[in-house]
């Protein structure tokens, strides 16, 4: 429970259950992670603009509540499988932003020793089995992780992320079916940000919600406001608990929005400025901050301190990434095979 006097609490309107369910340190951690993600991506973007990073990147700015809220109920030994838009998931699962940025910079100190880059960051020790450059590529892998957990009689859970566009891939269908018939401990988290690159979900599927597809697998499904961290966390908590207790898989759909373009080549021809603006106002970080201020869970200076700490960590991460050595070109074919 938050540390405030009974008087303070009485003056504030009662917290909604989803927020009340988040203990103070959990909430602090969640805020910190959302800031870390935002600052991380801003730093990456700035580095790209300055030519320090090559390739492309897929930013999740605006989607932080979906990543952090979903992962909040997970334990360190639970697994996640992430996407091309995966920085948020990675940080939420506890990865070190410095090693992530080093990977972005293609450095030997990066999570993949500079071999993978943004689209392939994996943090195996932290339970992140990897971002994925293939849309829906993680979904079938999740099935195997679920089989593995079950075979080893572990009480772990596997959470797999994917976008709305990914649900049009055959892999989505095959994976949800197998997860369901075998009652695997998998939580399917769809981050529905309304677009697959330029493709409006209203044009790419005939149903309104991704959850409308779950009945084909007799799978419980819930759609939540993906920019509302407490709601996302509540939905994820229920799905994770169910999966962990042998109840089988579930689908959580986080309705959210990506503020940035799809990738660096995006000219935003498929959506209006107004739409972007509307969603900017639903920013998941400031929304949560406003709410916790209202309920006096945190003071303004406390929130500022969290943000500042996040910024500082990312600044340090950037220094680390810049200062790190490049891989040795003589080791080009290292790690092609395990031995």
């Amino acid at each position: 429970m938050p540390q405030m006097s009974a008087i303070d609490r009485n003056t504030a309107a009662p917290e909604r259950p989803a927020l009340a369910a988040l203990e103070q340190e959990v909430l602090r951690g969640a805020l910190m992670k959302m800031h870390l993600i935002r600052k991380f991506e801003e730093a990456a973007e700035a580095s790209y603009v300055r030519g320090l990073i090559h390739g492309t990147m897929h930013l999740s700015i605006g989607q932080e509540a979906s990543a952090v809220g979903s992962i909040l109920p997970l334990r360190i030994d639970d697994y996640i499988l992430s996407t091309h838009r995966g920085h948020g998931h990675c940080i939420a699962k506890g990865a070190d932003p410095a090693r992530m940025l080093a990977e972005f910079f293609g450095k030997e100190t990066g999570y993949c020793h500079g071999r993978g880059g943004s689209m392939h960051i994996a943090d195996i020790e932290g339970g992140n089995l990897g971002a994925n450059g293939i849309v829906a590529g993680g979904l079938p892998i999740a099935v195997g992780v679920g089989m593995s957990i079950k075979a080893q009689k572990q009480d772990r859970v596997c959470m797999v992320f994917f976008g709305d566009g990914a649900t049009n891939e055959g892999a989505f269908h095959e994976s949800l079916n197998m997860a369901s018939i075998w009652k695997l401990p998998i939580v399917f988290v769809c981050e529905n940000n309304k677009y697959a690159m330029s493709m409006d979900i209203a044009l790419s599927m005939a149903v309104r919600n991704v959850t409308d597809r779950a009945s084909a697998y007799a799978m419980p499904a819930v759609a939540v406001d993906g920019n509302d961290l407490p709601e996302v966390a509540a939905a994820a908590r229920a799905a994770v608990a169910r999966a962990r207790s042998g109840g089988g898989p579930a689908l959580v759909e986080c309705k959210t929005y990506r503020i940035r373009g799809h990738s660096k080549s995006d000219r935003n021809l498929y959506r209006t400025k107004e739409e972007i603006e509307t969603w900017r106002e639903a920013d998941p970080i400031s929304r949560l901050e406003t709410e916790v201020l209202t309920h006096q869970r945190f003071t303004r200076p406390e929130l500022a301190a969290i943000e500042k700490a996040a910024q500082q960590r990312i600044d340090e991460a950037l220094e680390f990434a810049k200062a790190s050595p490049d891989p040795d070109s003589a080791e080009l074919t290292r790690d092609v095979y395990a031995d």
Binding site: H54, G55, T56, E103, G106, K107, C112, G114, R115, G116, G117, M119, H120, N132, G133, I134, V135, A136, G137, G165, A166, N168, E169, G170, A196, M197, S198, M199, L203, S204, M205, S265, D266, R267, L269, Y270, D326, P327, S329, L332, T333, V336
Partner: protein
């Protein structure tokens, strides 16, 4: 004296490779209402690499069709449309994603004409941006064209110039068989002369891009450009290089390659795909089992991609596929030391 051969047309107008492809698409759609383009983000976005550009505006959403992310389904849709009177052109956003569509391309498109006893044909075109060099790492940088050269019933082309990008695509659209066009991401912005009117570059014909007497370099796609640059440097050292641009991987224009090797007695094959089982293996083997074998004075050298997924780090990425320096070095070694 070796010279850069003149471009086959007297066109002076220059287009980029991407623009040349777009022009081919537009001209094909204008000439034949059966032709349509579809794929992920080819419409309002203009294509992930900007190739389709304004085609949606020009031809409307019934002929430039944005699709869900469903590569297998899309390839099958191309088969079905082609079987029943249309001429679909499918863009696979990155050639790596063709891994999802192999079933329809290999089991259906390639075999239907044969399996149905010649009673139906599948005039579909698949455009596949391939290759490394953009920092997109292992799943967005592959050169998988060699797989398709292994599949009877398919045709496979790989243009290296804007001129050929247009002419091969128009030829592919004309062709009554399934044709895969492997474009190269790094070439989209390269410029070159492109005649304004529609024309065809015949599928199955290689092009001698530079004449020379000391060594034949057979190269494909972007490697042709690197081979030509290498040839200029080698010429300064007195090594006269003949550069053959492969252009078609299925069928392979063996006659042009053989003719060149008979003249130069040395063969170096340069390609971006993984060296092992890459297209150079087939060309080498074709020469080694032919009567040209007797004309060889040195082993047949191949320069191909390293045995590694394409790494993200830019230096490693460059090191993983042949660069101009590598070509110069390999050609020197072959001509001066006689070893591959």
């Amino acid at each position: 004296m070796p010279t850069e051969l003149a471009a086959p047309e007297v066109a002076t107008r220059e287009l980029s490779y991407a623009e040349a492809i777009r022009e081919a698409l537009a001209q094909a759609m204008e000439a034949d209402e059966r032709v349509f383009l579809f794929g992920e983000d080819v419409g309002v976005y203009g294509g992930a690499f900007g190739v389709s550009g304004d085609l949606l505006q020009r031809f409307g959403p019934e002929r430039v069709i944005d699709t869900p992310i469903s590569e297998l389904g899309l390839a099958g849709a191309a088969v079905g449309a082609a079987l029943t009177g249309m001429k679909p052109v499918l863009e696979i956003q990155f050639s790596d994603f063709v891994t999802l569509a192999m079933e329809q391309i290999v089991n259906q498109a390639a075999k239907i004409h044969f399996m149905f006893g010649g009673k139906a044909s599948v005039p579909m075109v698949v455009r596949l941006p391939g290759g490394s060099g953009t920092g997109a790492a292992g799943q967005h940088s592959q050169s998988l064209e060699a797989w398709f050269a292994h599949v009877p019933g398919l045709k496979v082309v790989q243009p290296s110039t804007p001129h050929d990008a247009k002419g091969l695509l128009l030829a592919a659209i004309d062709d009554p068989n399934p044709v895969l066009v492997f474009e190269h991401k790094l070439l989209y912005k390269t410029k070159g002369p492109v005649p304004a009117e529609p024309y065809r570059v015949p599928i199955g014909s290689a092009a001698v891009r530079r004449a020379g007497r000391d060594i034949t370099i057979v190269a494909a796609s972007i490697m042709t450009l690197r081979a030509l640059a290498a040839a200029r440097r080698l010429a300064a050292e007195g090594i006269e290089t003949e550069v053959v641009d492969l252009r078609s991987l299925r069928p392979i224009d063996f006659a042009t390659i053989a003719k060149s090797v008979r003249k130069t007695h040395r063969l170096l094959i340069v390609y971006e795909g993984v060296k092992t089982m890459g297209i150079g293996a087939e060309i080498s083997a074709m020469i080694a089992e032919s009567e040209v074998f007797e004309f060889l004075e040195t082993p047949i050298a191949r320069l191909g991609g390293a045995d590694v997924p394409i790494p993200y780090n830019p230096m490693l990425e460059k090191a993983s596929v042949p660069q101009e320096d590598d070509i110069v070095a390999a050609a020197r070694r072959l001509v001066l030391e006689g070893i591959a």
